[in-house]
């Protein structure tokens, strides 16, 4: 009867292997589910961040040829010779807040020394891109509105 015993043992091994595979498969599915669950849990569905749309007030607050910084909202409102436009004040290098220097007539980043002109074009430093031009429009009340979350191609001016 040794042959019979042998096949019996083989069968038992196969059954055990089947259960191991079943167990590992179940663990795999559970692990993938837990990963999805964790990912969803860690991604906030509601953010209590400030609105990207800023009411910058009446256009006549900004005289011709001025750059006005709004550091709280991270934007510049510029009234250039060709009209109004808004620039993002967030440096395109690593996200520091730039500041406008009226004496030098340029926008400078305090973190790594990038410099931009009043149209956001980089003149110096490590920034890889010019400052973003932001969507600007007039509200029904005639206020200047800026949307930080929408960039537009450079040199699109708003004439009032």
């Amino acid at each position: 009867m040794p042959v019979e015993k042998n096949t019996d043992e083989q069968e038992r091994c196969t059954r055990r292997e089947t259960f191991v595979k079943l167990g590992l498969g179940t663990l795999g599915v559970a692990g993938a589910g837990a990963a999805m669950f964790g990912y969803e849990f860690l991604s906030p569905n509601v953010l209590y961040e400030p609105s990207p749309i800023t009411n910058a007030g009446k256009p006549d607050r900004y005289p011709q040829g001025t750059v006005t910084a709004d550091p709280k909202n991270g934007i510049y409102v510029v009234h250039g010779p060709e009209g109004f436009y808004a620039l993002s004040a967030v440096c395109t290098h690593l996200g520091c807040l730039t500041s406008w220097s009226p004496e030098q007539g340029l926008i400078a980043c305090p973190c790594h020394g990038s410099k931009f002109n009043a149209e956001g074009v980089k003149t110096d430093g490590p920034a890889p891109r010019p400052l973003a031009w932001l969507r600007v429009w007039l509200s029904d009340e005639g206020d200047l509105m800026v949307d930080r979350s929408t960039t537009i191609p450079a040199r699109q001016f708003l004439r009032t």
């Binding site: 990912y39 991604s43 953010l47 690593l94 996200g95």
Partner: protein
């Protein structure tokens, strides 16, 4: 006086209570010494014997032990600091200032925590350089080097997450810059940044996530890997002394 004290301590070590805690008992034999190490949950990570050469200053400069010492100081100072610190905006900054100017011994604990953090990063790097240049990472200690790299990353991430907690200008912009560097990772960068900060900007969610990482997740990970690191020293044949191997 010293004799009387010694006699008293010896008497104490023979009491039933003491013997219930330390069961190896007194004795100046190697067996007793070995048992004293082997039967202690903390010491049993280490080997019961070591080479005399491994104790020489020149072998290790004690850099691993010093790294552990700074870690223990950081735990001992960090836990009391948690009692006065709220990880919320803008309370965190005010709490940090209170620790400096209002809380008794607060400035001592905060500064000790800060300096130890700097020292730990320095010592961990020095430890790795020492191990590297002495060739102590070689077989059979390769895997303990890998554990060491994990511990270096945990150390750096502890340092980085602690950086945000004062919630001052330096903290805010450092984490802004650091998280923007992270978003340069191909494909996953932006998503990783969003998950780490819990939002699009460094804000209340980011402060809370960094606080939990800094005070719970990363210290637990560090303790786990430090345990493995020490245990592997025994398993890999003790400290590398640079002496000729016996089987060669």
């Amino acid at each position: 006086m010293a004799k009387a004290l010694e006699a008293y301590v010896n008497e104490l070590r023979e009491t039933r209570i003491w013997r219930s805690v330390f069961r190896s008992g007194m004795g100046a034999t190697n067996l007793h010494r070995a048992l004293a190490v082997q039967q202690n949950i903390f010491l049993h990570l280490f080997s019961v014997k070591m080479r005399r050469a491994a104790l020489n200053f020149s072998v290790t400069w004690y850099l691993g032990t010093l790294s552990l010492a700074t870690f223990l100081i950081l735990v001992a100072t960090g836990v009391p600091l948690m009692l006065y610190y709220h990880p919320s905006v803008p309370q965190a900054y005010a709490d940090m200032k209170d620790l400096q100017f209002v809380v008794s011994a607060g400035v001592f604990l905060r500064n000790l925590h800060r300096w130890s953090a700097h020292a730990m990063v320095l010592l961990v790097f020095a430890h790795m350089f020492k191990v590297f240049y002495r060739g102590a990472y070689r077989t059979p200690r390769e895997f303990n080097w890998v554990i060491g790299v994990v511990l270096l990353l945990i150390t750096l991430f502890l340092s980085y997450t602690g950086y945000l907690l004062p919630w001052d200008q330096l903290a805010y912009w450092a984490i802004t810059v650091g998280s923007n560097i992270m978003s340069a990772v191909p494909l996953l960068g932006k998503k990783m940044r969003f998950l780490m900060l819990g939002g699009n900007t460094v804000n209340a969610n980011a402060l809370l996530r960094f606080y939990v990482l800094h005070c719970v997740i990363l210290p637990l990970a560090a303790i786990l890997f430090i345990g493995i690191h020490f245990w592997r020293i025994r398993k890999d044949g003790g400290l590398h002394t640079g002496e000729a191997k016996s089987h060669e």
